[in-house]
Amino acid sequence: MNILAATENPLIPPLGEIIIGLIAFAVVFVVFAKLVAPRFEQVFRARREAIEGGIERAEAMQTEAREALERYRAQLAEARTEAAQIRDQARAEGQQILEELRTQAQEESARIVARGEEQLASARQQVVNELRGQIGALAVDLAGRIVGESLADDARRRGTVDRFLDQLEGMAVGTPDGRGGGVPVSEGNR
């Protein structure tokens, strides 16, 4: 053994050992490069993606939230304008209804007034007709007394009375516009 050692120089290796070493390293290299490194790289990639994916998801959520907020705001503004429109419309409608009611009321009152006038007119006519007979009798009576003559002729008397009443009526109608004043004058002139 000592003799063997003396002949060996540790820095001059036998070729066989070099070849064995080469094969051994080749085994480790092939195993590592083919089986181990790709899976490690896969793990690293998966890890990186997991982290980046998380960030991306968070960003996506943020944008989604922002969009939802904008949408909500837009809807709110829309609702506000719509409410304003409805309010305006209601006001206009109310105005219209008021207007209609007013015209209706006016019409009603006009009708009532017209009916009243009509009634009044008919009542007046009735009164006039009634009065006409009485006033005729009274006037004839009065005239008979004042003049002292008896107007025997009935037909003539009626004609006179009628003429007188017509004159009287004409005077009553004409008085307000001043024409009535002229009739008695013209009567007097005649």
Partner: protein, 271 residues
């Protein structure tokens, strides 16, 4: 110290004498040998240890990625840490941005050396195949061929050799001095130092452990006062084992980092 040395000397002189371990520790008897195409193969303990280390590290690495998870388990974490150390710390940061394709090569270099170095303190084996010059030399030669080839591939034959022969940015008269140094450094010194550094560290480490542990064993058999020295020697053997553990990791890392810097020099023209 001198007095204790005297005592130790007298103790050693009393018996048949302490036979210090020599170079024969690295040449165990071949278990069997054969020849293929005239090349003699001797299968020794160390060859077996080499193969055990090779298969163990291969198995371990495959086992770490058997069921890879995004959140790693303990096994995966150990393998991943080792690979990340080489991939990020050396391939990316030392070799450069184009260094990632070399990560598997550098990592297998690292793991192969580490596994073989570890055999120097694993009981029963207790010798690193890296303390046989052939194995570091193989790795150094592979590295040597590789960084020259990558340099030619990346920069072209002309530019690669021109830049080595005539280092850019050096005054012309200085080439007399610089060119021989550069040639020597790039083609001879680099692979040689790479191999010798690893070999010598593991060789010396093994010798140290042998001396202290054999010394302790011997001193315990002598009797008398030498028990004290035997205990000291035993303690030193343990301390040296821890020191060896440090060297094991350091040398595996240094070898890989240096290969990284050589690759960096080959990939990036400026160096």
């Amino acid at each position: 110290m001198t007095s204790s040395a005297h005592v130790l000397g007298s103790v050693l002189a009393a018996g048949p004498g302490f036979q210090a371990p020599g170079i024969e520790a690295f040449y165990p008897h071949p278990l069997f040998s054969f020849a293929v195409l005239g090349v003699q193969f001797e299968i020794t303990r160390i060859t077996l240890i080499l193969w055990i280390a090779t298969l163990a590290i291969s198995w371990f690495l495959v086992a770490t990625v058997r069921n890879p998870q995004v959140v790693p388990g303990r096994m995966q974490f150990i393998g991943e840490s080792g690979y990340s150390l080489v991939r990020d710390g050396i391939a990316r940061d030392v070799v450069g941005p184009r260094g990632l394709p070399f990560a598997p090569f550098l990592a297998s270099l690292f793991f192969f050396i580490l596994a073989n170095n570890l055999m120097s303190i694993i009981p029963v084996a207790q010798i690193s195949p890296m303390s046989k010059f052939a194995f570091p030399l193989v790795l150094a030669l592979i590295c040597w061929v590789m960084y020259i080839w990558i340099g030619i591939r990346e920069q072209g034959v002309g530019k690669y050799f021109k830049d080595i022969l005539f280092l850019p940015g050096v005054p012309k008269p200085m080439y007399v001095l610089v060119t021989p140094i550069e040639i020597l450094q790039n083609f001879i010194v680099r692979p040689f130092t790479l191999a010798v550094r690893l070999f010598a560290n593991m060789f010396a480490g093994h010798m140290l452990l042998l001396v202290f542990s054999l010394g302790a064993t011997y001193l315990f058999t002598v009797g008398g006062l030498s028990y004290v020295f035997g205990a000291v020697s035993f303690l030193m053997a343990i301390v040296m084992t821890f020191f060896e553990l440090l060297v094991i990791f350091l040398q595996a890392y240094v070898f890989t980092v240096l290969m990284g810097t050589y690759l960096n020099g080959s990939i990036e023209a400026e160096h």
